[in-house]
């Protein structure tokens, strides 16, 4: 019988097969091709190596960047928050001691770890990629098996360049059809999570398939794979194709010459065989999909933007009912309110989900020539220093600044508020990030997850809005953002 994409990548990395079969099988030992490191989940792992007198086995397969704690203003000054500064300085000292390549704040290649890996060409099809960060699933967009790990596993990978893993089940997410203008990859993944739930992917590797996925750019595929973890899945993947190769070619660490040809020959084998079967298949219709937005405090609590805030009574399951009641109370929302009547205080365009150049372009296309609602503050935080430079070369920074948005330096920023970019208690935010958990963006902050174009339209109108809600005058710009 044929194999799925996930199974092919898995099988190609088995160092040692676990003994036994089925439920009683021991885990396989898998080789890790790329280990991405950042300041938050690594200090205790480096310390563990030091205490045990162990080396970092493959510094040539390891790369570090500073992202979670980094300020997005005044980056040439010492970091004001002492504990943040200590954590960054600890990463710098550890990388020096163990010989790990590091892109520090101020470096042209610094940025969110999941933006940096792909843009350097280090993320490639068929690889195993890990990082002490749950959004490592992002790299699955290249047909890599990429997953987030805890600090103990970070230390394990540092010491052995392997991980012990129990085989996953496989789930196909079939998205057929054509997205309408103003509907994006973010809406696909929010709709998938609303459909299968925050635990629906638990124990599975998801493979996104179908004509709507094939039509997506790499930046858009990364948005989808990024949020696989919000459905509980360990990883999400898209089979590589010409779109992938075109993105890869010429990147600093992409293969060259004969290596490129050998790589492409291998990458061409990385697709699910026709006679392979998935444990579960889920279908989503791209033709009828509308912009999606969350109303609650987990990413599964989402609805179409044209819908109303649901009532707890809409949920049959007692746990879901209680969760909805609690979420409405935290979010300060009344059941039955049209989503589009909800006024926001802040718009955040950024995070490893939506901070790549295409995200910035799509948002800029919406706001160009329009005025921001004066009561709304808008933060634009590029995913990496490289994305920021690219955007500035295209003049996007001017579009955002003229609109009245704040143009910041790269990092995770308000996605999780480990730096000064946080919401105040009660402050409501339309955010292109990935988690609407209680307090995620700042204590008491209220988050609605949206796509970059919905974020931009919301900044114009002050209430949750889709691009089609703006006056028809310049909707010509909508072409080309259907991806």
């Amino acid at each position: 019988m044929g194999k799925t994409l996930a199974e092919k990548v898995w099988d190609a990395h088995v160092v040692r097969k676990g003994e036994g079969e089925g439920a009683n099988a021991q885990p396989d030992l898998l080789f890790i091709d790329l280990h991405l490191v950042h300041e938050v989940t690594s200090p205790q792992a480096f310390e563990g190596l030091r205490l045990a007198g162990r080396k970092l086995r493959r510094v040539d397969l390891t790369i570090a960047t500073e992202d979670h704690n980094t300020p997005t203003l005044d980056i040439d000054k010492p970091i004001a928050d002492l504990t943040s500064r200590t954590q960054i300085e600890t990463l710098r000292a550890n990388c020096r001691e163990f010989g790990v390549r590091l892109h520090s704040l101020g470096d042209k290649e610094q940025g969110i770890v999941h933006v940096v890996g792909p843009q350097l060409g280090l993320t490639q099809p068929g690889m195993t990629v890990v990082c002490g960060d749950s959004h490592t699933s992002t790299h699955g967009a290249f047909g890599a098996l990429a997953m987030g790990i805890g600090t103990s596993e970070v230390e394990h990978v540092m010491a052995t360049q392997t991980l012990s893993l129990k085989p996953f089940k496989t789930m196909a997410i079939n998205v057929e059809g054509t997205l309408r203008p103003g509907v994006t990859a973010k809406d696909i993944i929010l709709a998938v999570i609303a459909k299968i739930g925050t635990g629906g992917g638990q124990g599975y590797v998801l493979e996104y398939r179908g004509s709507a996925i094939r039509a997506l750019s790499m930046d858009a595929r990364m948005t989808i794979c990024n949020m696989s973890i919000e459905a509980g899945a360990r990883a999400g993947m898209v089979a590589p194709d010409q779109t992938t190769y075109d993105y890869m070619q010429g990147r600093p660490h992409a293969p060259e010459g004969a290596d490129w040809d050998a790589a492409v020959e291998y990458w061409n084998t990385l697709h699910t065989d026709e006679d392979a079967t998935f444990d579960v298949e889920v279908d989503l219709d791209a033709d009828t999909l509308e912009p999606f937005v969350t109303w609650g405090t987990n990413p599964g609590q989402g609805v179409s933007l044209s819908a109303k805030v649901p009532s707890p009574e809409d949920f049959g399951d007692e746990n879901a009912k209680a969760a909805a009641e609690r979420a409405l109370s935290y979010m300060g929302l009344e059941a039955g309110t049209p989503m589009k009547d909800i006024r926001v205080d802040t718009v955040f365009l950024g995070s490893c989900t939506n901070s790549r150049i295409e995200d910035l372009r799509a948002a800029a296309d919406i706001i160009r020539g329009r005025e921001k609602d004066p009561k709304v503050r808008m933060l634009v935080v590029p995913g990496s220093a490289r994305v920021r430079l690219e955007a500035e070369a295209e003049g996007l920074d001017k579009v955002f600044k003229e609109f009245g948005a704040e143009w910041r330096f790269a990092g995770c920023s308000m996605c999780l508020g480990m730096n000064p970019d946080q919401l105040e208690p009660g402050e409501r935010c339309a955010s292109t990030s990935n988690r609407n958990f209680e307090g995620r963006q700042g204590k008491g902050g209220r988050t609605h997850l949206v796509s970059p174009v919905v974020a931009a339209a919301t900044a114009v109108r002050g209430t949750l809005s889709s691009p089609s809600d703006l006056e028809s005058a310049s909707t010509g710009t909508l072409t080309g953002i259907a991806v």
């Binding site: 205790q44 042209k108 290649e109 103990s152 596993e153 052995t160 925050t198 360990r234 480990m418 209680e438």
Partner: protein, 202 residues
Amino acid sequence: MEAFTTHTGIGVPLRQSNVDTDQIIPAVYLKRITRTGFEDALFAAWRKDESFILNQAPFNAGSVLVAGPDFGTGSSREHAVWALKDYGFKAVLSSRFADIFRGNSGKQGLLAAQVAQDDIELIWKVLENAPGTEVKVDLVSKTVECGNVVATFDIDDYTRWRLLEGLDDIGLTLQHEEDITAYEATRPSFKPKTIPAKVEAS
């Protein structure tokens, strides 16, 4: 890692689903560079509310957390497990755990026991009707007892074995170092290396 066979301690009913890692430990506490001392960070936002269960005796002395489904969703932060352990929890019962959280628990000797939701409901009732009731979690027999409720729980065999033996993962893997070296020799040349950097330093 300390071996785990059985544990008996006060049960804490946490009637809530989707307890995510940002609730277990908010990001602001992740700036520390130590592996211990996170007890104050556990459920930090909720503990500001006097009615929160861990602010009430005898639950504040609890060591077995009995939670709703989808416990530990969200981030990969192992700090969530460290915070639960530092507070004094030895086991968490839930009908469904997020994968990464469950993996992290297994590495740190915190037992993540998967119990059917119907049994969780029965245990919640016992703990709410008689606060301070102890829960016995037995990893050898994979059973949990609370008042008159006796239930079984699921845990994968490999994690169970490692917990029972208190084994160090890295040490186990390094017993197979020859296999790793042999695998490394077969990797194709087109796979990327981070060093030397193919970008200018700035």
